[in-house]
């Protein structure tokens, strides 16, 4: 019993970490782009959106995993979506109760968490095949990776576009904000820039195969 548990645990830490970096849902898998682009105009919005998505991701992954033996294969997608929609409704009402200002800023995008490809993707690809513990850690890792990506994007856009970070002014009054970064176009540009950066990292890693294997051994 002990050995199986430890082996599951060992796998599980990997399940958690891969979502943060190696299989980052936004930068590597390029999933769930819509909220990433739409809500990342300020760091606060990005963080709130990331946390809301993480909550839905964790709850639905756990539940899908718990019910994976009872859900018939033919109707699994519909069942997953129903489970996700339930949790999104909960989040929607919670945010409305906690902060009306935030609710207005995020707008329809809270409800649109339902159709975030990451959540359905993880339910289908991971949670429906793995144990509750593993699915939980996987969802936690993916959620953290998603929040991290949103936050980096939101921070860049807010700092350059408004000259503030979480509403705190950084450059004083003389800073002329780049309006374009707040506009839709800026979202595309900053995401494109981040993807370029990650591609560059990947290319560099490919060129140094020895270093990469060493890194994997350490991990």
């Amino acid at each position: 019993m002990n050995t199986t548990e430890s082996s599951v645990n060992k796998l599980s830490t990997d399940d958690f970490i891969k979502g943060l970096w190696k299989e980052n849902p936004v930068f590597i898998q390029v999933l769930g782009m819509c909220p990433v682009l739409a809500v990342s105009n300020t760091a606060t919005n990005a963080l709130a959106m990331g946390l809301a998505t993480t909550f839905v991701l964790i709850m639905s992954s756990t539940l899908v995993s718990a019910f994976r033996k009872f859900i018939p294969k033919q109707v699994r997608i519909a069942s997953f979506i129903l489970i996700i929609a339930t949790f999104v409704t909960i989040v929607d009402y919670c945010i409305q109760a906690i902060s009306l200002e935030l609710y207005k800023a995020l707008g329809a995008f809270i409800a649109l968490i339902v159709v975030n490809c990451i959540i359905l993707g993880r339910a289908e690809a991971f949670a429906s095949k793995n144990t509750i513990g593993k699915s939980f850690l996987d969802a936690l890792g993916m959620g953290a990776g998603f929040t991290f990506a949103l936050l980096t994007l939101g921070a860049v856009r807010e700092i350059i576009g408004v000259g503030t970070f979480f509403g705190v002014s950084l450059f004083g009054h003389h800073y002329e904000p780049w309006m374009v970064m707040i506009l839709p176009g800026g979202g595309f540009f900053s995401l494109g820039a981040w993807l370029l950066f990650f591609n560059w990292l990947k290319e560099r890693q490919k060129k140094r195969p020895t270093l990469q294997t060493e890194g994997e051994v350490i991990q």
Binding site: V30, L31, G32, M33, C34, P35, L37, A38, I77, A78, I81, L82, A85, T86, V88, T89, D92, Y93, A108, A111, L112, V114, V115, N116, C117, L120, V180, L183, P184, G185, G186, G187, F188, F189, L191, G192, L195, L196, N199, W200, E203
Partner: protein
């Protein structure tokens, strides 16, 4: 809000607040299916059709939910309606055009998780449109989506012939081009005095 003229609702959904380039809705199929011009235009057609049907159903469901006083069921019932409509379209396309069915591949069932379609249902409810306005709105949104997809596909077909470094190839350049398109579409803002 409800007194908006029909042409304005159409132009607004189609150009000024284009779903893909201004609201960032439906980015996944926008990046995924915009590789070929032919597939892109048909995908646009399928999405427009699903939008129209689900908009119609969403209007009915919303009226029903108001009567039974259960607004918290809105999201769940919308998504179920959309999923069934997509299933219907899938069966239809599979029967009448197997080639198109293969070309669209995984992106056909993924119309269900296309945010643009759920967004049409949510926006029309939030803005309190009546039935005709809903349908015009859905039509505008669908055509706007198709236009964005087709322009993108045309550009990407050209991009295939250009010599790009490995780092830029793929999603990165597509998103950069989308950014430029988005800036271009901002020019339409003058149309409606938005």
């Amino acid at each position: 809000m409800t007194s908006e003229p029909l042409w304005f609702i159409f132009v607004n959904a189609c150009f000024i607040n284009n779903f893909v380039l201004a609201y960032f809705l439906g980015i996944c199929p926008f990046l995924g299916v915009s590789g070929k011009l032919d597939t892109a235009s048909r995908m646009g057609g399928a999405v427009t059709f699903v939008m129209l049907v689900s908009s119609l159903c969403a209007y009915g469901i919303h009226s029903l939910l108001i009567i039974i006083n259960a607004p918290y069921l809105q999201l769940i019932s919308f998504i179920v309606v959309i999923a069934s409509t997509v299933q219907l379209v899938e069966m239809f396309i599979k029967k009448f055009s197997p080639t198109l069915f293969r070309a669209l591949g995984i992106f056909l069932p993924l119309i269900t998780t296309n945010c643009a379609i759920l967004a049409v249902a949510l926006f029309q409810t939030n803005r309190g449109y009546d039935l005709i306005q809903c349908l015009i709105f859905a039509l505008g949104a669908g055509i706007g989506f198709t236009i964005a997809l087709v322009i993108m596909a045309g550009l990407r077909e050209e991009l295939d012939f250009t010599d790009l470094s490995n780092i830029v190839k793929g999603t990165a350049i597509t998103i950069m081009v989308a950014g430029l398109l988005s800036l271009t579409f901002m020019g339409f803002a003058g149309l409606g005095g938005h």
